[in-house]
Symmetry: C2
Subunit: 294 residues, 2 copies
């Protein structure tokens, strides 16, 4: 087993991502000690029962005390309050990172609460499943996936390097980019797909009972592909949309314009437009398969 | 091996569905002889080379000669022309069925060309993959999936019964319903999901090259789930939309209204509406898993 990367890591939130990090870190000896900070006592107890952390508490300031790495693994809407609570108790030289799916908002919400000498290196592991909670995690979740880090200019390069190393050791490839760039890119790659999936599943759940039963019965014809991502954690996704409003609304606008064009083609019986459009999309699928991200 | 269900089956079109039927029928001895009728000589040769049919020809009237079962497995837009060509050569007592994803249009396009004594029992196996062509088929494609039959009132009940039996023997559960009902149900279950998937993948394929490369790289964050169904056969899907226009446009209208409501919630920062909506959709996913259609 190689040298631990950090002595004590505090994972604030121990759901799918937090518990996957804990499992991987345990497996590979990345930390000497892992403390979970949770919202509820039940989750703290569950994390301990699963044997994936050394300690767990709902007292977040106590959880981060003495930690040289703090990872925020809660919905991004909670960051400001958490940062305000833990800020005064962070050890000098500690590194704070997070796993949120948006990156400008965490910088806005966390940075003001950090004492001098504590670096914030925001991160987004582009990995996940539709399952939530401490039981949903597994140690290989990040293998071969990308993790995007968005440190502000002026962040201690040594802190960035240690966070890069951490994500590599849990199995990820690492990219570093500007937070605003991240939020635009992920709006179309991740946020809009989730919104659309939630939306069509929502449309179905508004149908009368008989019609809904049929949709479920025949779901293999296309619908089921959307329900998987529409089963993702509702609070986490609420916070993503509230915290990446501009980029999401802009991309949604493009999506809607394109959908209107398809709608018009269907109404007019314009088969050529439909066929051209449907042919173009096959190339994108091929690229994803080639990039091993399918 | 049990008794063959039909002596000679003509499969018009030998792509994903046709070749899966051929493979299953061969495996289980459902037909004494299988003839493929294809559009191109290359496909006819490929079907023969794969050893899944006894004969293959681009001469469709010759393909159906002497067949007691004819299965149309081509895009629904081709049915009228094919029915006009093969109608005069159909054997008395033959049964014609199809596998199209819409069901009113086939009745409109096929029925007028059938001689007396030939029954048309329209069918839709709710099964598929994103792959196309004679190499894409496999014998278990229909196992545990639904096949919907939509015979018109007055269709010979014995013919319907034989088609029901055929689909059961290839592994499907069978439902019988009215064609108009089918087209409304599948508009939301299958057609709109495909349209939306094609649309978002289309939106991405219009992005500039750098942005597109990023979407592909980070596709695991949601986007990839859409690309699978957006890789489905473009001509087949063009024909679905052209032939189920009203139901598709009506359901698209509902989808767009719901999306506008989500858009408004994002713009206003209305987290409660988002969370409520995202929570509701989880139940639909659970139902699909329980129905074993996930």
């Amino acid at each position: 087993m190689s040298q631990p990367l950090f002595a004590t890591a505090a994972l604030i939130g121990i759901g799918l991502i937090g518990s996957s990090l804990a499992r991987r870190a345990r497996r590979d000896g990345l930390f000497r000690r892992i403390v979970a900070g949770t919202r509820t006592q039940a989750t703290a107890e569950r994390a301990l029962a699963l044997g994936i952390v050394d300690a767990a508490t709902t007292d977040l300031p106590a959880a981060v005390e003495g930690a040289d790495l703090v990872v925020l693994c809660t919905p991004v809407g909670t960051y400001a309050e958490i940062a305000a609570a833990i800020g005064p108790r962070l050890a000098k030289g500690a590194i704070v990172t997070d796993v949120g799916s948006v990156k400008q908002a965490p910088i806005r919400d966390v940075t003001p609460h950090l004492p001098p000498g504590v670096a914030f290196v925001p991160g987004h592991p582009v990995a996940g499943t539709e399952h939530s909670g401490p039981d949903a995690g597994f140690p290989t979740l990040f293998d071969g996936r990308w993790c995007i880090l968005t440190p502000e200019p002026g962040t201690d390069p040594a802190a960035v390097e240690r966070v890069v190393e951490f994500w590599r050791r849990v199995g990820s490839n690492v990219d570093v980019m500007d937070a605003a760039h991240h939020d635009r890119a992920l709006a179309i790659t991740s946020h809009i797909p989730h919104l659309i999936a939630y939306n069509i599943v929502g449309t179905v759940s508004d149908l009368e009972e008989d019609a809904q039963r049929e949709v479920i019965k025949y779901a293999a014809s296309g619908f089921r592909d959307f329900t998987r991502i529409a089963a993702s954690d509702p609070v986490m996704w609420r916070d993503v949309f509230l915290n990446n409003r501009e980029a999401v609304l802009e991309m949604l606008q493009r999506f809607s314009e394109d959908l209107t064009a398809l709608q018009r083609a269907i109404r007019r019986g314009d088969g050529q437009t439909l066929q051209d459009r449907f042919t173009k999309t096959r190339a994108v699928r091929r690229s994803i398969i080639e990039a091993k991200q399918a």
